[in-house]
């Protein structure tokens, strides 16, 4: 009997080596992280427990990214709690304004999340790192506090659903469309407590940026983790990250699922039939092909977030916006996910395209994705965003609306002032 990639990574990190799906295990973690919303509680719990020392200062990252640059005094104070704790424990992986990025874009870029790792983060989109062939899942603040002390986490071994995609994607269809289509198919609890393994020739043809978008949204189907077997694309990405940033841990391990691994379910998709997708309020699973929503007017477009704020995303948006103008009455907000994405977008002229089109180009932040700042919606307003959640009030007023899409659809829609297929403007 074979094992899935998720089971193999868990087995190699588990204190007890023999287990089956559904069993509870204690597992050693390779890396953990928290942000300015979740880590202040972890730090308080750590102190309340009387702990004096973290298990390994090189395996912890603290990243204020949600309400930064500090939107008010309380947010400033939360970042300060992280800064003080990092100083106290000599945690070098503390990323402030000027060095920071949205956590799930930043850590892979810095080579801090590696293939074969077991990573937990006090943020639900920690599942993003599965795109590297790592086991990564979101936990709560107290779980993170316990990990700070023990270097371990308890986990229930998940069953796996294998998603197989074949066929060549249509032009303007991206990783984001694949994951929105899949969530639309299985629902927001369609992978409840399970691992989502994304595979097939279509996935193999995708860039890392597209793969990150896919694994990032596994949580939106209720999954524990999303994962993609590492291949040459993964290895080049990781080697490049290690060479550039020289992280302390440089070795990584490539896992693959056995051909006779047990799956809870296998689902196949002809990816050549997938159209650009849009999710309607108020669930990511309310997906429709873009063409049926062409009449829907919008007040704001947000391009960014841990889902779609990487350089490939900005490149696609810039390609569409170049030489075009954002429609009068629409606000376009582009937020690169990290400092290096920002710099690259400046170097390659994308920032100029966004500003000349009539949009703004912001410093990295989670910002409006969770209704924090940098583009909050008023009552009755509608936003098309490349973010990951369209829950009620997610980006502002409870009577505002968020629609989700890829960067290509978002850019085209900014030009039209309504939801638009990229081919309408190209």
């Amino acid at each position: 009997m074979g094992y899935t990639i998720t089971e193999k990574i868990l087995r190699d990190h588990a204190v007890k080596k023999s287990f089956k799906p559904g069993d509870f295990i204690d597992a050693k973690i390779d890396f953990c992280l928290g942000n300015d919303i979740t880590a202040p509680i972890s730090i308080e719990e750590f102190r309340n427990a009387g702990a004096k020392k973290v298990f390994d200062k090189t395996r912890i990252a603290l990243i204020p990214d949600h309400f930064i640059p500090a939107k008010d005094m309380r947010s400033a104070n939360n970042s300060k709690i992280l800064r003080d704790f990092a100083g106290e424990h000599d945690i070098k992986n503390f990323y402030e304004v000027g060095r920071m990025g949205v956590e799930h874009a930043l850590l892979p870029e810095l080579g801090l999340a590696l293939p074969g790792n077991l990573i937990i983060g006090a943020d639900s989109h920690t599942c993003t790192y599965g795109a590297l062939g790592a086991f990564a899942c979101g936990v709560g603040s107290t779980d993170l506090a316990a990990a700070f002390i023990t270097g371990k986490v308890w986990l229930k071994v998940p069953e796996t659903i294998k998603f197989i995609y074949y066929g060549k994607l249509k032009k303007w269809v991206s990783g984001k469309d694949i994951i929105l289509h899949t969530i639309g198919d299985i629902g927001v609890d369609g992978a409840h407590y399970m691992a989502m393994e994304f595979s097939g020739e279509t996935i193999k043809s995708l860039s890392m940026d597209d793969r990150f978008s896919i694994c990032n949204m596994a949580i939106e189907a209720g999954a524990k983790n999303g994962i993609i077997e590492p291949d040459q694309t993964t290895i080049s990405y990781v080697k490049n990250a290690i060479r550039k940033n020289k992280p302390k841990r440089k070795s990584f391990k490539l896992y693959k699922s056995d051909s006779n691994a047990r799956y809870k379910e296998m689902r196949e998709y002809d990816a050549s039939k997938i159209e650009p997708q849009v999710s309607l309020p108020h669930l990511p699973s309310n997906t429709r092909p873009v063409n049926v929503l062409k009449g829907v007017s919008i007040d704001q477009v947000v391009i960014g977030s841990c889902t779609n704020g990487r350089i490939g995303d900005l490149e696609t948006a810039a390609k569409i916006l170049k030489g075009n103008k954002v429609r009068q009455g629409v606000r376009l907000i582009v937020i690169p996910a990290t400092q290096s994405v920002y710099l690259e977008a400046v170097k390659r002229g994308f920032a100029r395209v966004f500003v000349e089109a009539g949009g703004i180009f912001s410093t990295p932040s989670c910002g409006p994705c969770l209704g924090g700042h940098l583009g909050i919606l008023a009552e009755g307003e509608r936003c098309l965003a490349t973010t990951n959640r369209n829950f009620m009030g997610r980006m502002g007023h409870p009577k505002s609306e968020v629609y989700l899409s890829s960067p290509a659809v978002a850019a085209a829609s900014a030009i039209r002032g309504r939801i638009a297929h990229p081919k309408e403007v190209m």
Binding site: F24, P40, A49, R74, T150, D189, H192, F391, M392, P398
Partner: protein, 160 residues
């Protein structure tokens, strides 16, 4: 443990932004968070809820973000326990970790109406709808989770 209170019914896929909108997450003060619990779904929820009352929901309760502020807010506004048909996994962990009792009851939405008086015995896995004079068998915590609950939460458990 046993809990008894009035049921406050919610639907499927109640997410963490419904439970506590992200804009309040610059605070970690339980009482402050409690003031805004469920405000997008029911403005008067916090006023209506009495100490010991029970939240009853459908599938996938607590989906969305990893914010521990969500179970903290529910607990701090006086709710004694949450019954749902299923819980999103991070919310489940967080509830255990902050000491908010949660009970899985398939078809909870069918068995319990808004305003029903409900009795929960988490140890025996029995839920009594006092108003309807009906009794249901709920799932009980797996042994591993029970051992964390018994220790008084994860932080005590890891200090073992």
């Amino acid at each position: 443990m046993k809990y008894k209170g009035k049921a406050h019914r919610f639907g499927d896929n109640i997410n963490t932004d419904d439970i506590i909108p992200a804009r309040y997450l610059d605070s970690k003060d339980p009482l402050e968070l409690a003031e805004h619990c469920m405000e997008y779904l029911d403005k008067n929820f916090v006023k209506k809820v009495k100490k010991g009352d029970i939240v009853v929901a459908g599938r996938n309760f607590g989906c969305g973000s990893s914010r521990e502020h969500a179970p903290i807010a529910i607990k701090a506004c006086g709710v004694s326990c949450v019954i749902a048909e299923s819980f999103a996994r991070i919310f489940y962990r967080n509830a255990i970790n902050v000491g908010l009792p949660i009970v899985v009851l398939p078809e909870a939405a069918k068995y319990i109406n808004n305003g029903n008086i409900v009795e929960v015995d988490t140890k025996k896995g029995i839920i009594r709808n006092v108003s309807k004079k009906k009794e249901y068998k709920s799932e009980i915590y797996p042994a591993f989770i029970e051992s964390i609950v018994k220790k008084g939460g994860l932080m005590n458990y890891v200090r073992r």
